[in-house]
């Protein structure tokens, strides 16, 4: 009877879980998002299991394909977090410390017009402008 190759399949499952959980869960908190150490740790365990699984497999080709899939998921994760996420425009002409912040008038979420000068006047100490990517 062929024994069930649990390290191989657990490894693949963990690799998928590490990938999905980073985007759905761990990207919520800076401590696990900025440096994805927890996800990387799960990937390391996943790959160790995949290697173990390939070693004990009777059907090496199938095991090799499953292991390659697990490693590929890790590679995509690495590419996104280490390469793609850093492809930002330089913003070299963004206002610097000491310069005047360019004025603007924009609608708020209720459609009312709001200007930067208005915000300055109404604030006690200053205005924190947070530009974000949005949901488009």
């Amino acid at each position: 009877m062929r024994r069930w190759n649990w390290p191989l399949w657990t490894g693949l499952l963990l690799s998928i879980a590490a990938f999905v959980s980073y985007f759905t869960v761990f990207s919520r908190w800076p401590i696990t998002r900025d440096v994805p150490w927890f996800s990387a740790l799960v990937f390391v365990i996943a790959i160790a299991l995949l290697i173990k699984g390939v070693r004990r497999a009777n059907r090496k080709i199938l095991a090799g394909i499953v292991a390659a899939l697990g490693v590929a998921i890790f590679a995509v994760f690495g590419f996104f977090t280490m390469v793609l996420a850093k492809q930002l425009p330089s913003a070299s002409n963004a206002p610097r410390v000491g310069q005047k912040a360019p004025g603007f008038t924009l609608p708020d979420s209720n459609g009312r017009s709001v200007s930067l000068s208005q915000l300055q006047t109404n604030s006690q100490r200053g205005v924190l402008l947070i530009f974000y990517r949005g949901y488009w």
């Binding site: 850093k86 930002l88 603007f104 300055q120 109404n122 200053g126």
Partner: protein
């Protein structure tokens, strides 16, 4: 702290209002769908949105009451944003 936080993106007012309600945010959300202000701050990220829409790259500016920039955070990684403690610290140390 006496600092007014304002979030700016290309999202239409209705989209921001839904986000604001869902997440329970009480601060102001401003809409810049034609990226006029985003471009004036040199923060345009061309084609980075859904269906190749132009959007803003993440950035934070602390502006004092006279309109002078006192602190800037331009991340080099879209996963890494200014943390609330960083912004509070900046407000404490750079604003008059």
């Amino acid at each position: 702290m006496g600092v007014t936080p304002v979030a700016i993106s290309v999202d239409e007012p209705q989209v921001s209002e839904n986000l604001r309600k869902k997440a329970g945010y009480t601060f102001l959300f401003l809409s810049d769908p034609n990226t006029e202000t985003i471009r004036r701050y040199d923060l345009l990220h061309k084609g980075a949105g859904q269906h190749g829409h132009d959007i803003a790259r993440p950035a934070e500016f602390l502006v004092d009451r006279s309109g002078t920039v006192r602190w800037v955070n331009l991340t080099e990684d879209l996963r890494v944003r200014a943390r609330p403690v960083q912004m509070l610290e900046a407000a404490k140390t750079t604003l008059p």
